[in-house]
């Protein structure tokens, strides 16, 4: 029998943490939310500061772009600076706004009134498997929002955009690939403003969309090597910075997974009349400052849009029970009669 003790984290230590971050349950990692609280529960309470997240995009990149947008919005509401590199579309246009709603007491009471058989459990609170059991406040981002985030919030942060036009302008002086240009820009940004040693503890959220586009290749023959190099040097930079990075890729490779801290793959749902718009398969979870990573209840997650397709949630994918008639037992050959058979066969 093993006895484990958890280190008590003093409440005063939270006052020195950067805004929008918290310590994990062991007190060894600084975490921040991805913007989707249900996703946070599957990756170990949040994204570790200094970590690299890889997302293999779904077919039309809708879900991956939604995750990126929620991640960036969460940064704005938590006063984190943003750094974006995107060629397909600008994720900062029409960023989703935050919605907070609490589970009302009436809702809980109504559920308790239904308990006619399990009456002993009336006074216990309900447990929602898709979100933190200790929280009754759910935070979601409205993906269909027509309102924009208030300018007051946006003015409090810095948004760095690394665009193709900026890259082209640098090409007149030096000739480097777009990925190398990205890396050197990030190196300058992270070492000067977001180093872990800096006094002003500001967090930077980096979002890079579709990094594996062959448009970014300097040499088509060394496509994987270029990507590997990019991820390697970026990971080293992130480890000494107060930053997190989400990169979406449109191709899979196990080589990249050795360098990333969190990896998951998104797929569109091909099941008609299903509640799920897509599925998420967790591939790798972070092992920062620990040997054994967080093990989720399941590695297969369903993705839903709730509240009239405004909010995205991740939940344990459950296969509905088979209620077909074939599943029922066949009682034809059973007999309960005690009468002895006329034919005895020994």
């Amino acid at each position: 029998m093993s006895i484990t003790f958890k280190k008590k984290i003093s409440s005063t230590s939270n006052t020195r943490l950067p805004i929008g971050t918290r310590l994990n349950s062991n007190g060894t990692l600084l975490l921040t939310s991805s913007g989707i609280s249900s996703l946070d529960t599957f990756v170990g309470e949040g994204l570790p500061i200094g970590s690299l997240v890889l997302i293999y995009e779904d077919k039309y990149s809708n879900i991956s772009d939604s995750i990126l947008r929620c991640y960036l919005s969460e940064g704005i509401y938590n006063k984190h600076d943003l750094c974006i590199s995107a060629l397909r579309n600008d994720p900062t246009e029409n960023l989703p706004t935050k919605e907070e709603y609490k589970l009302l007491d009436n809702d809980l009471n109504n559920e308790n009134d239904k308990m006619k058989i399990a009456w002993r459990y009336e006074n216990l609170s309900t447990i929602n498997s898709s979100s933190s059991s200790s929280s009754t406040t759910n935070i979601h981002y409205d993906l269909q929002s027509t309102k924009s985030i208030s300018n007051e919030l946006i003015e409090q942060i810095k948004i760095h955009k690394l665009t193709w036009n900026d890259y082209i302008q640098t090409q007149t002086q030096t000739s480097i690939s777009y990925r190398n240009y990205l890396l050197k820009s990030l190196h300058q940004l992270l070492t000067t403003n977001y180093s872990s040693q800096s006094i002003d503890k500001r967090i930077l959220r980096i979002g890079i969309q579709s990094l594996s586009l062959s448009l970014f290749d300097h040499d088509n023959k060394s496509h994987f090597d270029e990507l590997f190099s990019f991820l390697y040097y970026l990971r080293i930079l992130l480890r000494t910075s107060l930053a997190t990075c989400i990169i979406t890729l449109n191709e899979k490779s196990k080589l990249f997974e050795t360098l990333a801290d969190i990896v998951f793959e998104l797929k569109l749902s091909n099941i008609n009349h299903s509640d799920y718009i897509g599925f998420c398969q967790l591939i790798k979870l972070p092992r920062l400052n620990t040997i054994q990573p967080f093990i989720p209840d399941t590695w297969d997650i369903g993705i839903k849009l709730i509240k009239h397709r405004k909010n995205i949630i991740f939940e344990k994918y459950s296969i509905p029970p088979d209620l077909s008639q074939d599943a029922s037992r066949d009682d034809k050959h059973k007999t309960l009669s005690c009468s002895s058979s006329t034919q005895l066969d020994f």
């Binding site: 093993s2 060894t28 890396l183 050197k184 190196h187 994987f224 090597d225 590997f228 190099s229 390697y232 040097y233 990971r235 080293i236 930079l237 480890r239 000494t240 490779s253 196990k254 080589l255 997974e257 050795t258 360098l259 967790l282 092992r287 920062l288 400052n289 620990t290 040997i291 054994q292 093990i295 590695w299």
Partner: protein
């Protein structure tokens, strides 16, 4: 350190510096094995050189702390651990546009930072040298040879990760490269993930290949087992198959 793993490797009676160990992994992070050997060397006050291509010192410090070892600073001192952050040199070379490093440069860099004759040398993932610096298989093997020449009395613990991608790639014929590495190491530990993903009871599969202890001839022992890994323990579960 993990006692069950020590018992499997039968290292408690190790007296000589021979018996290098190759650690390979398929789609699984085998860093915990490096942590085990580091912990072993610290607990037995052996001089250990940790050549890091990816892992920062802070990670080592936290993990070793859970294993009962205290690491103070990464600076080289009279302590038994010499931590060599090769990733810093590689990163510095890239961002400051210095000339690319070759094998001689790397070996010289390592030699300069080793102050005491090491008993154990731990080398992190060699795949990084292949894909990042584009070293060929021959160059990586040559580097291993040079390090053995520089530190003849040290026991080498070498890690290399394999991915499924490489089995189809003509340029990276990992199987022949792995076989060459196995030849220059005495023992081999192979770790892989479960196809269904790790659970809280089973983390992965481990295969140990090593020499038997017969005086008449050398046999090869192969032991396969499942394992359960926590921050402090490694439990080996004999497979029923």
């Amino acid at each position: 350190m993990f006692d069950e793993l020590t018992a499997l490797l039968d290292d408690t009676n190790r007296t000589s510096s021979h018996g290098s160990i190759l650690i390979t992994s398929l789609d699984f992070d085998s860093n915990f094995l490096l942590q085990h050997f580091l912990s072993y060397s610290l607990k037995n006050t052996l001089n250990c050189v940790y050549i890091s291509l990816l892992t920062p010192f802070s990670h080592l410090k936290h993990v070793q702390n859970k294993m009962g070892n205290t690491l103070k600073t990464p600076e080289i001192s009279s302590s038994s651990l010499m931590f060599i952050p090769l990733f810093s040199s590689l990163s510095d070379q890239f961002f400051h546009e210095k000339s690319s490093l070759n094998i001689d440069d790397l070996c010289k860099m390592i030699q300069q930072q080793v102050i005491a004759s090491p008993d154990i040398i731990i080398i992190e993932d060699l795949q990084i040298l292949r894909h990042l610096l584009k070293f060929s298989d021959i160059q990586v093997l040559l580097m291993q040879r040079k390090l053995r020449h520089l530190f003849p009395n040290a026991q080498f613990i070498t890690q290399i990760s394999i991915s499924d991608d490489e089995n189809d790639d003509e340029n990276f014929s990992s199987s022949s490269f792995i076989n060459m590495l196995k030849r220059i190491h005495n023992k081999h530990l192979f770790v892989r993930s479960l196809t269904t993903g790790a659970t809280k009871d089973i983390s992965g599969q481990l295969t140990y290949t090593g020499p038997s202890q017969s005086n008449l001839w050398t046999n090869i022992i192969i032991r396969k087992c499942l394992f359960r890994l926590t921050d402090r323990t490694l439990n080996l579960i004999t497979s029923a198959v």
